[in-house]
């Protein structure tokens, strides 16, 4: 396990009963970078994350971590090989405390109790959730719930972390706050971060590279400023947003 392995998916296709959710998608995530995965609703973003994290077996294609073929591995095995993820619906351990949620991640990652507790404290402090450590996870406000989901995933010490809409349901301040936190995560934790997001301006500001899906196919990838100008992207995804933005400007 060298430090500069990458997560590589090639030719990924997923079919549900004849319906193509993904076809021939290639994606690479390096450690230390932030990759944005965007696309309209139903474009296949979550399906791709499910494939990468072992929750969905691809119909075609291959997933590699470094040089190891991990296609079709079960989620827990992938997690222990360095692949972490969060969920759109967060999925906290509701009746356990905030502390136990993170501790479960650290323990699942193979740490002994003492080391797991130390890591849990340092993560909670670093991510500003230490004050709530003794509360039941179910009692957290929504913004902190999402943050806890990320901390819990970090506790496993992943090399690649896939965040499924981490900003969903957050207000503007919370979103800004989250972005600031996320921008430092890859270097601080030496991991590659993949972020699924709807909000274009948000993702363009955060990511080193962007990967755009539409109808299960890759329609563009590259640096944010390139993707922003890509006609296909504007048509498929930015169309309505660009119009709205233009309209607002015209009004002002």
């Amino acid at each position: 396990m060298s430090a500069d392995e990458s997560l590589q998916a090639s030719g990924i296709g997923v079919e549900f009963a004849g319906l193509k959710a993904l076809s021939d998608v290639d994606l690479e995530l390096e450690q230390g970078e932030i990759l944005g995965l965007i696309g309209p609703n139903g474009a296949g973003k979550t399906t791709l994350v499910n494939v990468l994290s072992g929750f969905q077996r691809p119909t075609t294609g291959q997933v590699l971590i470094g040089s190891r073929d991990v296609t079709g591995w079960r989620p827990h095995k992938l997690a222990l090989r360095g692949l972490g993820r969060t969920f759109q619906s967060v999925r906290l351990f509701a009746r356990m405390t905030v502390f136990e949620n993170v501790l479960a991640g650290a323990v699942a990652g193979g740490l002994r109790t003492r080391a797991a507790r130390d890591l849990t404290w340092s993560l909670l402090e670093r991510m500003r959730l230490a004050d709530s450590a003794a509360l039941a996870a179910a009692s957290l406000p929504h913004g902190e719930e999402r943050r806890l989901g990320i901390i819990r995933a970090l506790a496993v010490r992943p090399k690649f972390l896939l965040l499924d809409e981490p900003a969903a349901g957050l207000n503007e301040t919370e979103t800004k706050d989250l972005l600031e936190t996320l921008s430092t995560v890859p270097h601080e934790f030496e991991l590659g971060l993949l972020v699924i997001e709807h909000d274009m301006p948000l993702i363009l500001g955060l990511c080193d590279r962007i990967h755009v899906l539409d109808y299960g196919r890759t329609i563009a990838e590259g640096a944010p400023h390139e993707v922003r100008r890509n006609p296909k992207v504007i048509e498929a995804y930015l169309g309505s947003a660009a119009t709205t933005e233009g309209g607002a400007r015209a009004d002002g």
Partner: protein
């Protein structure tokens, strides 16, 4: 930062409060046993039976409470414990006349304590064999799967005449289980369950109970982890079986079937299956209710009014208690919290309708 220091302290003192809750439960069981042991021989017999029930409830809790997967099969592990203990306790000449055993087993003889341990170990072994495939099931299918195990063990016990005595059952087991042995094992069972809750394995199965996909995504191997909890839980129920065999002296397969399963499940659910306190409180509470009802079964007077005997009152009472709990307080009397003498204020939570029901039975 001051707030943070106090949070740290509260998480650190958590261990102290867990110890306090263990001490509370041990003291509670010892106290109730102490009081009941002063009663008539009939009451003493009821006491020992209910201490065995308590061990079963705590054993079942180790699996059901922590993994969130239901089991209707654990009384089968009790049966294995009882028959195994019987086989090494019945005097050799009785074995020769009642059963058809291989010579080494006819000669096999262990002490009462060793017999209980053997029963527990064989029950754990059986759980280990069926555990891995069974733990792939969840929810209702797990309930059915474990129920199938109960049936299999019951049918084997009823038909393996050479070893079990078939449907007539086993007889001639020296009745050595008294209050001391039953109480000691009840306390040991509580300590085992408590120690288990301090382990990383327990943290992992509880995480899987709360949200299985999230647990898998963290790297938790849900099936083998649950299987380990299943084995430990069967060990405790096997011990209860070993004690029961040496209490009853003679018993048949019907002792380890639906009525016992129902009683033990009702005790766990009524007490609250999400905490060890729930298991203990449920066992003590329903044992008391059930004993009260048993006394009324024979008929009673209220002033001039004579109520004729009502056979079955005890069973109906248990069922009604279970039903009322499911309807009014689905998380049980304790609502998932642990009792502790250090926190009498918590007793407020026992007021009806004050259980935290927000997350009841709703997978994320």
């Amino acid at each position: 930062m001051a707030a943070e220091v106090s949070v740290r302290r509260s998480v650190r003192t958590e261990l102290a409060s867990r110890v306090a809750s263990l001490v509370t439960l041990l003291a509670l069981v010892a106290l109730v046993t102490g009081l009941a042991s002063l009663g008539s021989p009939v009451l003493q017999n009821v006491l020992v039976n209910n201490l065995i029930n308590l061990i079963l409830v705590v054993g079942l809790y180790i699996f059901v409470g922590n993994t969130g997967v239901f089991s209707f099969g654990h009384i089968g592990f009790m049966a294995i414990g009882a028959y195994s203990a019987g086989l090494v306790r019945i005097p050799e000449e009785t074995k020769v006349s009642l059963l058809q055993l291989p010579p080494w087993l006819e000669r096999a003889h262990l002490t009462s304590l060793e017999a209980v341990l053997l029963g527990a170990a064989l029950a754990a072994l059986a759980a280990a064999i069926v555990g891995l495939p069974l733990m792939r099931l969840g929810g209702l299918t797990a309930g059915l799967g474990t129920f199938a195990i109960l049936n299999i063990i019951n049918i084997v016990a009823a038909n393996w005449n050479a070893f079990t005595g078939g449907s007539t059952g086993m007889a001639g087991v020296p009745t050595t289980t008294g209050i001391t042995a039953a109480l000691s094992w009840a306390l040991i069972a509580i300590v085992i369950a408590w120690l288990f809750q301090q382990t990383r394995l327990c943290l992992r199965v509880r995480a899987s109970r709360e949200d299985e996909p999230a647990a898998r995504a963290l790297g938790i191997k849900v099936v083998p982890d649950r299987a380990l909890a299943f084995v430990l839980s069967a060990f405790v129920c096997g011990a209860a079986g070993g004690l029961y065999g040496q209490l009853a002296g003679s018993f048949g397969p019907s002792a380890f079937f639906l009525p016992t399963t129902f009683t033990v499940v009702a005790m766990l659910v009524v007490g609250g299956r999400y905490s060890l306190s729930g298991a203990v409180v449920g066992a003590l509470f329903l044992a008391s209710v059930s004993e009260g009802l048993r006394r009324l079964e024979g008929g009673f007077h209220i002033g001039a009014l004579h109520v004729a005997s009502r056979p079955g009152l005890q069973e109906v009472g248990l069922a009604a208690a279970l039903l009322l709990t499911l309807l009014l307080r689905p998380r049980g009397l304790t609502g998932g919290t642990e009792l502790s003498f250090t926190d009498v204020g918590r007793l407020r939570r026992f007021a009806p309708g004050r259980g935290r029901r927000k997350h009841e039975e709703s997978p994320a």
